[in-house]
């Protein structure tokens, strides 16, 4: 998304990962933020509180807690706003119920979770990557969800824009996972010219209000979504509903509804699954990493290449739906695949799931609130 050619309106700033998220959100058209500040995501709320009131329609609300925060975001989104919230581990746990509600009511929203060491209050100022599977399966019931991650400050901006685009395009909550290191690293970034940026907004109905069916199936599986209060009246409920939005428990209607929820994500895997391949073409050993660990891995690849080892790096930017095709390709190509992460193995279990004995999968797991260093990764690669 970063502009590659010379543009007039792009500016360089020295910003925190959290501040880059705000830049990205505003570029994507976000005009509503509600939440409850929590370390290490506080700067997102602070910066939003500074910036949003200056927008014509901008609204910032500090709610009484995280549950209400996400509740307000869902309401704003149903009323036509591009809305987001940000939190960290403890707040993310509180938000789980509303993620399910957003999922079943197909409400577009972006939730940034800056991961810190847990469980519970844990270590508020230490990094970890322990919420990966919670982001996927945290809310109850079988549901599809999009989970993205970012590893450096420029990526924070880009992935926030992508998160809004996916949310609007597929009418789904999108979770952006950052970690304390990424969120609290300052770097020089380029804020692109808004005119060069691809920004997607939800489809509005083209039929008159009396013909409108809020949850009708179509080719994409995503129905148009009018803002509440614009004359289109429909019923929003957390109960399983039919095409009109009214509760139903007829097996046929339930089956087609839930399978549509999955299909609208599944059939666009190719669009959603974003990865960075670094020196993968001739790699015999592959590192699969995401977030801040991806940057340590990048340096490890550089160090290993200097020693003549053919090492590549697959940086995952989309965590769920799991980018299976590309991971499978690397598993076929390489004799050893290493998954370093700052938890007890939440993405490595996905890699092992798709491995089917094609390659040897190794892990580095660090849970002491310290980052995985390039040296650690290099050592593990050389030992094989």
């Amino acid at each position: 998304m970063a502009a590659k050619t010379k543009k007039k309106k792009q500016v360089e700033i020295f910003a925190l990962g959290n501040e880059a998220v705000v830049e990205g959100a505003l570029l994507a058209g976000c005009d509503f933020y509600a939440g409850y500040p929590i370390t290490p995501s506080t700067e997102i709320a602070e910066e939003m509180a500074r910036r949003l009131p200056h927008l014509e329609e901008g609204v910032f609300i500090q709610m009484e807690d995280e549950i209400a925060g996400l509740g307000a975001v869902i309401g704003a989104s149903l009323a036509g706003r591009k809305a987001m919230t940000a939190t960290s581990g403890p707040g993310f746990s509180l938000m789980q119920e509303h993620i399910g509600y957003a999922s079943i009511t197909e409400t577009p929203l972006v939730l940034v979770n800056v991961m810190r060491a847990g469980p519970s209050t844990g270590m508020p100022t230490s990094p970890a990557q322990g919420d990966v599977q919670q982001a996927r399966w945290g809310t109850h019931g079988d549901h599809p969800i999009i989970v993205l991650s970012a590893g450096d400050v420029q990526e924070c901006l880009e992935m926030t824009v992508t998160a809004f685009n996916f949310a609007e395009k597929y009418r789904t909550p999108v979770i952006l996972l950052l970690d304390e290191i990424t969120a609290h690293t300052r770097e020089k970034i380029t804020v692109p010219d808004p005119d060069d940026l691809y920004v997607c907004s939800r489809l509005l109905p083209s039929m008159p209000p009396e013909w409108y069916m809020p949850f009708e199936d179509n080719m994409r599986g995503v129905s148009p979504m009018p803002p509440l209060g614009s004359g289109y009246r429909y019923h929003v409920t957390g109960l399983t509903h039919d095409d009109h939005g009214y509760p139903t428990s007829k097996p046929k209607e339930v089956e087609s509804f839930i399978s549509r929820l999955f299909r609208k994500i599944d059939q666009f895997f190719y669009d959603i699954q974003i990865v960075d391949e670094i020196q993968c073409e001739d790699a015999e050993t592959c590192i699969i990493a995401y977030g801040c660990v991806g940057r340590a891995a990048e340096m490890a690849v550089q160090m290993a290449r200097e020693q003549g080892e053919k090492v590549g790096l697959l940086k995952l930017k989309t965590l769920f739906p799991f980018p299976r095709p590309i991971v499978e390709k690397m598993l076929r190509q390489c004799s050893f695949v290493l998954v370093p992460e700052m938890n007890m193995g939440q993405i490595s279990r996905e890699v092992k799931r798709v491995n089917n004995g094609q390659s040897k999968v190794g892990t580095i797991n660090r849970i002491d609130g310290q980052t995985i260093t390039p040296g650690e990764i290099l050592k593990k690669i050389l030992k094989g």
Binding site: H184, R186, E187, T371
Partner: protein, 193 residues
């Protein structure tokens, strides 16, 4: 003091106590180096849950090429504004690296080769003890041959609120001239990798 000096991962750790302004110091330095000098800079931070008094540190990696790993590996420069920080991080300093200490806070240094100035005392003399970090910044601007005073002042003005800018510029100048007087040849002693 060439303005386009090539750097390959020059690593700095600014360390001390919460409340001393370590993170602000890192932000101002980083912004000056990234936006004005055009280096690639990553500034990371680590601090305790306390508002004041806990350990606080800010790490900078400065390079002429893109930086993959944002944290420090082995330090070229350690700035210690507390005894605890000095003891804790001295071992991370690589051989030939420089140690800068606040002699009003650090009574015992682990080596006799260091650059020391009483930053906290100097800030008090300037009139506001909270400017300790900016006094330190002034001294560092002298010690680091690739950092220009003009761009640091510019960065200072853009980050700090306007009502406290005058006293901070004063603090910056105090640190800069004291370092120049005390260690006139410090900028030439670096061995860059």
């Amino acid at each position: 003091m060439s303005k386009d000096m090539r750097l390959n991962r020059f690593e700095i750790r600014l360390s001390g106590l919460g409340g001393q302004g370590i993170l602000t110091l890192g932000k101002i330095m980083g912004q000056a180096l990234a936006l004005d000098h055009g280096y690639f800079v990553t500034q990371t931070q680590s601090y305790g849950p306390e508002a004041r008094g806990g350990a606080s540190r800010s790490d900078l990696v400065i390079s002429s090429s893109t930086i993959s790993y944002p944290k420090t590996v082995s330090l070229d420069l350690l700035v210690a504004l507390s005894q605890e920080a000095c003891n804790k991080f001295f071992t991370n300093l690589k051989s030939g690296g420089a140690l800068v200490v606040d002699t009003s806070m650090v009574a015992q240094t682990p080596t006799n080769i260091f650059l020391g100035l009483p930053f906290t005392e100097m800030a008090r003399k300037v009139g506001l003890v909270q400017t300790t970090n900016i006094v330190t910044l002034g001294a560092l601007t002298h010690f680091l041959p690739y950092m220009r005073a003009a761009s640091v002042r510019k960065s200072l003005k853009s980050i700090l609120p306007s009502k406290i800018i005058d006293i901070n510029i004063k603090a910056f100048n105090a640190g800069f001239s004291a370092a120049k007087k005390e260690y006139p040849d410090a900028p030439e002693k670096w061995t860059f990798s």
